[in-house]
């Protein structure tokens, strides 16, 4: 828009005369250049200001609060207290193993499912690929709710079991354990791995697979030596995204109601809302942010190396 406006002004003798006082035409190029340069910074300013106001400033407040103990002043005391607490260390461990486990599960399951959708023709394959796009828009708690209906204490699976056996309760009690959270996270986040993989597979020249096959390669070798190397950038992208999202996941952990499963976001919630310990909540939040940003930086480095 600014470029068009500048060009119009530059071609307008009256505008040239007003801007420079010199003869029309001779002054046109400098005017155009000057007008093009000025708006670049001006246009960048509003989004930066908005970003700073709605995101960076609150973030700065969180960081500031993390250095402000209830006793007053500014110190590292909140960090010392939080890092020394067993609850934090357990939450950190739980968060990391759940995130890493869920990411690994999503990568394996997502890769296998994407392979099937992309390379094994079956009726409705295109509909499945489209459904994955829709699935990405679902809220995470919806999946957890669905799992509760199936595997919950009074869910379908246990209902069938108690009806058939007459037992008092069913055997499916894992949903309120860390394994339930892991299952829910893998279920919910797998499509986030599949989406970039399907895009990568659609770019893969199927003639490569046919030639590999004609050269004597069995399907497993083709997957390992031809498809997988081509899919690495997409796997890295999807895996990094899922890892970061798992680290910050709150809804799934809350909805499974898993006892004893406290992740960093849950710890922030309990410190801030239940215990009103804002400095501690802010310390945990800062740690969570640091891990996320660190992982994002790592992803950028890795993706640049593999050419994603």
């Amino acid at each position: 828009m600014s470029r068009r406006g500048s060009t119009a002004l530059a071609g307008d003798p009256a505008a040239g005369a007003v801007s420079t006082g010199s003869a029309p035409g001779a002054a046109d190029p400098p005017i155009g250049t000057a007008r093009r340069q000025l708006p670049t910074a001006a246009w960048a300013l509003p989004p930066v200001l908005i970003l700073a106001a709605v995101f960076l400033y609150p973030l700065a407040l969180v960081v500031q609060q993390s250095f402000s103990p209830d006793s007053g002043g500014t110190s590292l005391q909140p960090y010392t207290d939080v890092f020394a607490s067993t609850a934090f260390r357990e939450a950190l461990g739980t968060t990391v193993w759940l995130a890493v486990g869920a990411t690994a599960g999503c990568l394996v399951l997502g890769f296998l499912l994407a392979l099937v959708v992309a390379f094994v023709p079956f009726p409705g394959g295109k509909a499945v690929a489209k459904f994955i796009d829709v699935f990405l828009s679902f809220p995470s708690f919806l999946i957890t709710l669905a799992l509760l209906f199936v595997y919950g204490t009074v869910g379908m699976a246990n209902g069938v079991w108690t009806d058939v056996t007459g037992a008092h309760s069913g055997p499916f009690q894992f949903l309120t354990t860390p394994w339930g959270v892991l299952l829910a996270e893998i279920t919910y986040f797998t499509p986030f791995v599949m989406r970039p993989l399907l895009a990568a597979f659609s770019q893969l020249d199927t003639a490569q697979l046919e030639v590999a096959s004609s050269l004597g390669a069995r399907p497993a070798r083709i997957v390992r030596r031809v498809i997988l190397p081509e899919a690495l950038p997409a796997l890295a992208a999807g895996g990094s995204l899922v890892l970061v999202m798992c680290l910050n996941e709150f809804g799934i952990v809350l909805f499974t109601g898993a006892k004893g499963v406290t992740t960093l976001p849950m710890l922030v919630y309990s410190k801030a809302i239940l215990e009103s310990d804002y400095p501690a909540a802010c310390v945990v939040a800062v740690v969570n942010i640091a891990i996320s940003v660190g992982l994002y930086g790592l992803y950028r480095v890795v993706s640049r190396r593999v050419g994603a």
């Binding site: 020249d205 003639a207 490569q208 046919e210 030639v211 590999a212 096959s213 004609s214 050269l215 004597g216 390669a217 069995r218 070798r221 030596r225 031809v226 190397p229 081509e230």
Partner: protein, 360 residues
């Protein structure tokens, strides 16, 4: 691997299509193909798009399953075998090199897949690369090579496994004209060096087929229309389609007389004694065998178009409502469009075809 010949033991395997029919969702794309490629022979499948030639090749490779008929490689019925058990080399139009592998790894791929002893692989890779003149590019990635070089690597990769049968699917169509000409000569040389390898060469380019093939199978609308040596098909085509597709011949509707044929109101001498008197037929004359000026079998008509083609001129002349093509040596003075001109051809240069023969 079950298909490829053991090291040092050349095996000669041909290809046989035995009534092969391929259909997709009831739509027949290859109809009852009966064709034999002799061991060590280069057979070109020539035809326009949609003629079924690539489908025939894919049936040999194992990428399509015939709904009827059998495919044989040598004595083996491979109809039900998966592609990796067929022991074939394959080169496709867009090379299909593995982009994340260096040239040497691309060439070694088939050897590793076929569990060739590790100690033999470097030698076999070097041998295949030397054969295609790519030995100095072993460490490069495909993206660092030109189109022609990539095609050479693709050929080296296919040859490295020492296949009994080599399938080439329009291998030169992605190259420019000059490179194509050079690669044609390279392929001819490779075949001289590997006389035991049977080659099925799919192309829509008649020059490639005429240059390289021992025999050409002409295909159209999912069916085999004609098959013979390039010289036979060019000089003595059996069908109108072959005459038209191979060499773009003039096809003139005529009525057979006694020792001659009647084209419009013009009587033309032809050297055939097989035609039935009074029957309608098609007279096939190659454009380069048609001369400008008076002579035997003269045809008078109006010049409709002239194209300069370097060493020749192509003339399009309307004769009795039919457009006749003539390729004549470059003219010093070209006639003007609309001028009356006379064309002629020798009786022995014309072939009389039964009208409407499609080569069933």
């Amino acid at each position: 691997m079950s298909g490829a010949a053991p090291p040092g033991v050349p095996r000669r395997s041909g290809i046989r299509f035995d009534g092969v029919t391929v259909a997709y969702h009831g739509n027949v794309v290859l109809d009852s193909l009966d064709l034999t490629v002799e061991p060590g022979e280069v057979m070109a499948l020539l035809g326009p798009s949609g003629s079924g030639k690539t489908t025939a090749l894919r049936a040999v490779a194992g990428f399509v399953r015939p709904v009827r008929g059998r495919v044989f490689i040598g004595d083996r019925d491979v109809t039900g075998l998966p592609p990796h058990q067929r022991g074939i080399g394959m080169v496709v139009q867009q090379y299909a090199l593995f982009p994340h592998m260096r040239v040497a790894d691309n060439v070694a791929f088939g050897l590793k897949a076929q569990k060739v002893p590790k100690g033999q692989i470097p030698g076999r890779v070097a041998e295949a690369l030397a054969m295609t003149g790519m030995d100095s590019y072993a460490k490069r990635y495909p993206r660092e090579l030109s189109g022609g070089q990539q095609q050479r690597v693709a050929i080296a990769r296919a040859l490295a496994i020492r296949p009994d049968v080599l399938l080439l699917d329009e291998p030169l169509s992605a190259l420019d004209a000059q490179l194509r000409s050079g690669m044609l000569a390279e392929l001819a040389r490779l075949h001289r060096e590997l006389p035991d390898v049977s080659i099925l060469y799919v192309t829509h380019d008649q020059v490639e087929a005429l240059t390289l093939a021992d025999r050409i199978a002409v295909m159209d609308q999912a069916r085999l229309r004609d098959c013979g040596t390039p010289q036979d098909l060019y000089r003595r085509p059996r069908t109108e389609f072959t005459a038209s597709f191979v060499g773009n011949a003039n096809l003139l509707p005529v009525r057979v007389g006694s020792g001659s044929v009647l084209f419009g109101g013009t009587e033309l001498a032809v050297a055939t004694d097989e035609a039935v008197w009074g029957a309608t037929a098609t007279l096939c004359v190659r454009p380069h065998l048609v001369g400008l000026g008076a002579g035997p079998n003269a045809l008078r008509g109006k010049l409709a178009e002239v194209q300069w083609r370097g060493s020749t001129h192509r003339l399009y002349v309307d004769v009795d409502g039919h457009r006749v093509k003539a390729d004549v040596r470059e003219l010093r003075v070209t006639p003007a469009l609309g001028d009356e001109v006379t064309l002629h051809f020798a009786a022995e240069d014309a072939v009389l075809l039964a009208a409407g023969v499609s080569g069933e």
